[in-house]
Amino acid sequence: DTAVSQTPKYLVTQMGNDKSIKCEQNLGHDTMYWYKQDSKKFLKIMFSYNNKELIINETVPNRFSPKSPDKAHLNLHINSLELGDSAVYFCASSHPSGNEKLFFGSGTQLSVL
């Protein structure tokens, strides 16, 4: 059973389109995250949600809107896609108690043409 699953695995789209990436975790964690990994493999946090509430929003354009319908799901919606949005996006989850390891999904490779 996959602990953190995200779909789709690959997403190829045109500039200006709107797309969503879905994430679900079955670990019972209260905290979920979205990370962006660039072409140099650098992992940068975008958002963090604790029990459906936004707790971290790094300097991400407001074209990116996370949505958490329940604590097991954190979806990422991106409006008006730009070339620079091309990257691998990872969902992750953890316990909220601090100093806890993150469990990552397998990533969504987004290519904006």
Binding site: V4, Y33, K40, K41, F42, L43, K44, I45, S48, I56, F90, A92, P96, S97, G98, N99, K101, L102, F103, F104, G105, S106, G107
Partner: protein, 111 residues
């Protein structure tokens, strides 16, 4: 801002050798450290962690060493195998803040 960084972007070793991947962190308040392994096309996977009240922790074929005096973390892999080829990340955190990831080191193991 403060960040975690690595000395070597790529490390090439022969199968059977021991590998050492180094990491320097800058936040003196960091009290929890993790090493992740990321294989091609996959998400980062937890390898081993260590808290600041320890200076060494061993797992299966892996050892993490923490030197808080010089803010240095290392991952040692014994008898490196081709399956160990991946990008390795160190990450640190303090209190309830989120993990800060280093830039990653690619480990290439040749048979």
């Amino acid at each position: 801002g403060e960040s975690v960084g690595l000395h070597l972007p790529t490390l090439s070793v022969q199968e059977g050798d021991n590998s050492i991947i180094n990491c320097a962190y800058s936040n003196s308040a960091s009290d929890y450290f993790i090493w992740y392994k990321q294989e091609s096309g996959k998400g980062p996977q937890f390898i081993i962690d260590i808290r600041s009240n320890m200076d060494k922790r061993q797992g299966q074929r892996v050892t993490v060493l923490l030197n808080k005096t010089v803010k240095h973390l290392s991952l040692q892999i014994a008898a490196t195998q081709p399956g160990d080829s991946a990008v390795y990340f160190c990450a640190d955190t303090s209190g309830y803040s989120t993990l800060t990831f280093g830039k990653g080191t690619m480990l290439l193991v040749s048979p």
